[in-house]
């Protein structure tokens, strides 16, 4: 069986014997990273941003997606645009601000001016160019090859021939819907981005984002903290399932004892909190019926949309993307998402909740970072100890939230794109 173009296999599966192994070479080999850039980050739909980040016509944000520099903008008519941020003239990155509001983008090198749709509007000494030069498509800022949105989440794809976004998302749309349905007025990204990095391979963070198995040991101090809070826990046990959603997407859905601003009350939030949470829940029932309202309010979901979009709907909602810079270094961006209509009380608790667990200063994420970096260090021994075991729960159906079915979904898709066939 070929792994990467005829080399040794990277994923070994033996369903009968409940065995699933991933070659540690996948985390350290620069040839594999090159293949990932070509076959994953240049072919898959990638998260660009959330519509709420662009409130008014002229609003824009710049960001790197799949190694490319992209401008995400709202044109004067209020339509969303995704443009490649490189000057048609000689290449300079045209927009150098992180975000703002603009009528046009002027390249500072020779002064070409582009509209928010990418059209070249003005160039100094235009007489030196043939007639009609300005109106050629090749003179403008090039749009990304594919740009589509689903329920507020905007995606790009650098493969002209990719399937439509909703086909790509497939069954994952059900879980995006559950997040989008938490709001009547629309979900919104809260101000402030957590921008950090981990000295580890990017795939380790995909695995970690929905790993239910590591909580008791890796997050022992977080669990201690919850126990020390006065009324920080609801009387709810951790229980749930892992699900393969197809196309490499997967989710774990489970009940947990922490408070959820939409909508699981904990005693710490007091009587005012109870009134607020009850009202939020009542509106959910009106809009979605009892059963779906309970699912939205009281279940937690850690979702990974292949290859690198995490939407964790837990004690707060986070959107997170991450990209490899090298085999052993990734950059991460994380945002907080909440209903735009939520009260200042709920927003405050949402952010308080977010920070107690999540992010590089939280009580949990730093220990995840440490674990991922120590795995990466361990792979220095990949020559001698060559395989990771990802088989937990292959012997039960359905797999539990703390099994590894979700990671097997990721690796199966990864392997099919990287060119190996599972042995």
């Amino acid at each position: 069986m070929s792994g990467l173009d005829g080399q040794n296999p990277l994923v070994l599966v033996d369903r009968e014997n409940h065995s699933f192994s991933v070659a540690r070479r996948s985390f350290v080999d620069p040839v594999i990273l090159e293949a990932e850039r070509e076959r994953i980050f240049s072919r898959c739909w990638l998260y660009l941003g959330h519509e709420s980040e662009l409130a008014k016509p002229g609003d824009f944000v710049t960001r790197q997606v799949g190694g490319r520099h992209v401008i995400f903008a709202k044109n004067p008519k209020g339509e969303f645009r995704a443009l490649l941020n490189t000057c048609a003239h000689r290449g300079a990155r045209v927009c150098r601000e992180r975000s703002g509001n603009a009528k046009s983008f002027q390249c500072f090198y020779h002064g070409w001016i582009f509209g928010l749709d990418g059209n070249l509007r003005h160039l100094p000494d235009e007489e030196a160019y043939p007639e009609g030069f300005k109106d050629r498509p090749s003179s403008g800022l090039k749009p990304v090859p594919r740009f589509e949105r689903y329920r507020g989440f905007a995606f790009v794809c650098f493969d002209e021939n990719a399937v439509p976004l909703t086909d790509y998302l497939g069954k994952a749309t059900e879980y995006i819907d559950i997040v989008a349905d938490q709001s009547e007025a629309g979900m919104t990204v809260v101000g402030g981005t957590q921008e950090y990095s981990i000295r580890a391979n990017w795939k380790l963070l995909a695995e970690n984002s929905y790993d239910g198995y590591h909580a008791a040991t890796n997050h022992a101090t977080y669990l201690d903290y919850l126990r020390n809070t006065n009324g920080g826990l609801a009387n709810v046990a951790l229980v749930g399932e892992g699900r393969d959603l197809g196309n490499g997407h997967a989710v774990v859905e489970y009940k947990a004892p922490w408070g959820r601003p939409v909508a699981q009350w904990i005693p710490m939030w007091g009587e005012q909190g109870k009134t607020e949470i009850d009202a939020i829940f009542a509106r959910l029932v009106e809009r979605h019926g009892q059963e779906r309202a309970e699912r939205i309010a009281t279940r937690n979901r850690n979702l990974v949309i292949f290859p690198n979009l995490v939407i964790n709907d837990i004690m707060a909602v986070t959107i997170r993307t991450f990209y490899p810079v090298s085999t052993d270094y990734m950059q991460i961006n994380a945002w907080a998402l909440g209903p735009s209509e939520e009260s200042s009380w709920a927003r405050e608790y949402r952010l308080f909740n977010f920070l107690e667990f999540l992010g590089p200063g939280g009580f949990a994420t730093p220990d995840d970072i440490e674990a991922l970096e120590q795995c990466q260090r361990g792979y220095a021994n990949a020559g001698e100890v060559a395989w990771n075991d990802i088989s937990k729960g292959m012997n039960r159906n359905p797999p539990a939230y703390d099994d590894e079915a979700q990671m097997r979904a990721f690796w199966t898709q990864w392997n099919s794109r990287i060119g190996g066939t599972a042995a």
Partner: protein, 161 residues
């Protein structure tokens, strides 16, 4: 306490930094008032942004700050086990405001952190809101404003800034 001059404030900030560098965190915690806050804002918000409606890296009230110290003193705080070595350099100390018993003091920090053969540098400004008490100065608010673009390549604020 009566008059507090810059030398007193520098002495206080240097002593605070020393307690952190020595991992004497329970003693460090005693420098805070019961209603204290400790903030590390994310680096793309205004320096005086509010934690109630902006995503920070850290926004602790006094209870959670105490829990942070409790956590960091455990072996199971894996990000800091074995503990990193730290050196805080505190400089450019300026009194920003002084009203009655309240003093707001600005400073610049450069902090080195070494762990497992890797050294990272953190730099930025501190704003301390201090209160004069019978027992000396106490911190009502410490806000550490990172001057770097995000936390790259440092990746974490797993210790006390």
């Amino acid at each position: 306490m009566t008059n507090v001059n810059r030398a007193d404030l520098e002495e206080f900030l240097f002593q605070e930094a020393l307690l952190i560098d020595n991992w004497q965190l329970p003693d460090w915690l005693k420098l805070f008032t019961d209603d204290a806050h400790y903030y590390v804002p994310s680096t793309d918000v205004a320096e005086d942004a509010a934690a109630e409606n902006n995503l920070f890296y850290i926004a602790d009230d006094r209870f959670r700050l105490g829990e942070r110290v409790t956590r960091l003193m455990k072996r199971t705080a894996h990000a800091e086990y074995p503990r990193s070595k730290l050196r805080h350099l505190i400089s450019n100390v300026l009194i920003r405001k002084a009203e009655g018993d309240l003093i707001e003091v600005g400073s610049v920090f450069v902090t080195y952190r070494s762990k497992d053969g890797q050294t990272d540098v953190y730099f930025g400004s501190n704003i301390h809101k201090l209160v004069k008490t019978g027992d000396g100065l106490r911190i009502r608010e410490k806000r550490c404003i990172l001057a770097s673009d995000g936390l790259r390549p440092q990746g974490r604020v797993s210790f006390i800034l």
